[in-house]
Subunit: 307 residues, 3 copies
């Protein structure tokens, strides 16, 4: 199959064939970053714009490196100092930048749907780098890639996603992605942080960490945003950590081993005891490495589709 | 003719032949941005420094892209975090950066004349990207380019510049540029925002929008800085908008059509009714597109002149 | 000899042979920046990360240009907007970036030892771009390069370092560097700003500027941080300037000429009378020029050592 979409806005709308195509393309790009000369000319002379309305050095850097390794030119549009603060609409901003003949926008915004709004207003490719509590598709794709690489397949595995499911775009994209690829998804967190009816997305729910761990091949810890406590979703971080934080004892008496994943940055001592992040079952740094390959694939496919 | 100047500081000092040379060079560069590989090797290995003492993502991005499409290396000198805040003079700053063997400075500063001060202190090319209320030459050049491209010529046309003439470097550069190229220039705005004696620059004055529109082939709306109200130049934005904002009714009963221009970013609802910006007579996005070509030309000519 | 270290953390640990190797390598790179096409392909496809936890446009720009002139890709990790503000440790930050397969970190941090902490946690090269009051090795190397280039040799010369010795990483690196290369080092400043026992680093101490000048071939003025006054190290800037500021009269009646150096940015009127910075004996801009060559050498040697 070939890629037909101009944009990558979320995993909800993708078919499993489209997801497979991205993972397969990423596989062929992964090798590039292991070379001494980490560069291929695939997108030479193309212009990629990082349009981040919400700060994120990590994701921005990953996209920037991915674009540079494909030989594209990368512009970072710093929104705090930009015309947006002068009262321009985001569509005006995007259209104006597009008029400079750019090929792709990487968009992060605190409002769900903002990348979609831009996508339908411009001819350039738009990649969602995280919008509100909605989706973060490249994060889920790199997670799928990491699991597939480790197990050799996806179908038939089980992943438990632990934490603040309610506010997590990472959780949402991963529920869509894993379930579409035949992976059983169990979500687990404090009741106020697990939306009622989430089962309709194709996942199971438990409120007990031990039960989630017992059933899963992969434990996927979400980052706990400390502001949730202020918003009265949590009695205290200590409480959260005691009930949902991963500890040494969870490794004991397991009938089967599990792998550990986290989208970063970690709150050491909150969702995870500090010493566990470096254990041999942790895939956390592999996720970061694979992020480059997956983003190279997404840039390549969406921009290629303009031809 | 060939280009002889090291710097581009303003249009006041340029001859019509020099302006023509820039427009002609821009024409040949415009095609580059329509290619799939938007890059020519003209300035490979040259170093261009964005030295912005005033924030401006839009102009900075346009220059950055122009430089990259000529294969130059671009450095952005972020002034808020720079030595300038440690009390260094701007000439010291520029001389120090020049000692790293850079070829060109793009300078924006809130003080009129700052680019000139730097230009006479360094051997590198200096391009004024907007200084105080003085000049913004590349904006006017891209405006000239856009009009010439649309009409096939400049001579004999009429342009009406509407808004805060007093504080606008865009207006000043455009008055010099258009009048040198044989275009009749009418300026129009509330009396406190039109300097007395501005006719000496070679333009006409009216205080009635309808009269300006009736006579012009191009309506050039300036951005109204909302701080003007606080400074007591305006009774209210509503008042301004009612008297000088472009509305649907201005399109009716015209004896001839007009084109609409704006340097961006627009205040929708202040200097223009929101729906009008997308009308077919709007050249606003073409201006942005042409900004890249004109800045490529200016970079190429000024840096070429060092050889 | 060949370079064997993965990192450049300070001059204290380097042998004079290693310092000579860097200076020699820098010499061959200096010519690159005088070409019209200021670029060699030595590090094409390598990724260099500017990891600055303390603002510094000048040093960051110098490293960025050095890396670009070697054709490396450069990423700037802006720490104010980064995950560090989300409570991540600096080692986590560095390991995460390294997982994106980067080749070199340029680290500046307000805490002494931070680059060392990162260096032992990653396989990538780490270059100290200034850590707390500890070391700033590339500054001292460019100073050594500048003196050697001017005199043709280092051995047997005398340098007087004037100012706030106590808080200066530039002073510390220069004391190590100059004394290892056979240059006599005299430090001079107000007693509270000269640490007791500093002679053990291999330098002499005087508290009188005239005495320092009388003995030195090179006067190296440090930048006086104005916050020292608030911290009660100084009665007043005027006092400091009167006793330790370089003035016209110091040029009169000298039995031998001296050269003037300063790491920038200068406090004109504090450590130096404004007019003296441009005198013919000033090597200040040469230092900046040589910074590029020395940093190219350091990037080339440390990254080459990974092969």
């Amino acid at each position: 199959m070939t890629w037909k979409r101009k944009d990558l806005l979320g995993l909800e709308e993708l078919s499993s064939e489209e997801i497979s195509l991205i993972l397969q393309t990423a596989k062929s790009f992964k090798e590039v970053s292991t070379r001494q000369i980490k560069k291929v000319p695939a997108l030479r002379g193309r212009t990629v714009v990082n349009l981040f309305f919400e700060p994120s050095t990590r994701t921005k850097t990953s996209f920037e490196l991915a674009a540079k390794r494909l030989s594209a030119d990368v512009l970072s549009f710093e929104v705090s100092t930009s015309s947006v603060s002068k009262g321009e609409t985001i569509v005006d901003t995007a259209r104006n930048i597009e008029a400079m003949k750019v090929d792709c926008f990487i968009v992060r915004h605190s409002v769900s749907g903002a990348p979609w709004l831009i996508a339908r207003s411009v001819k350039a490719a738009v990649i969602n780098a995280g919008d509100g509590c909605h989706e973060h598709p490249t994060q889920a794709l790199l997670d799928l890639f990491t699991v597939q690489e480790r197990f050799g397949h996806l179908k038939g595995l089980s992943v438990a996603i632990i934490g603040d499911i309610r506010h997590s775009r990472v959780a949402r994209s991963n529920i869509w992605g894993f379930s579409k690829m035949g992976v059983r998804v169990i979500v687990c967190g404090p009741p106020p942080l697990v939306p009622l009816g989430i089962e309709e997305m194709g996942c199971e729910v438990t409120y007990r960490l031990e039960e989630a761990i017992r059933q899963a091949d992969i434990i996927y810890l979400l980052r706990l945003q400390k502001e949730r406590q202020r918003e009265n979703y949590l009695p205290s971080l200590q409480e959260y950590s005691r009930l949902f934080g991963l500890e040494e004892r969870h490794y004991q008496g397991m009938n089967k081993p599990f792998f550990l994943m986290h989208p970063g940055p970690m709150n050491r001592g909150v969702e995870i005891r500090s010493c566990l992040a470096e254990k041999s079952n942790s895939l956390i740094l592999e996720q970061v490495t694979n992020g480059i390959a997956v983003r190279m694939a997404v840039l390549y496919l969406t921009m290629g589709s303009q031809r």
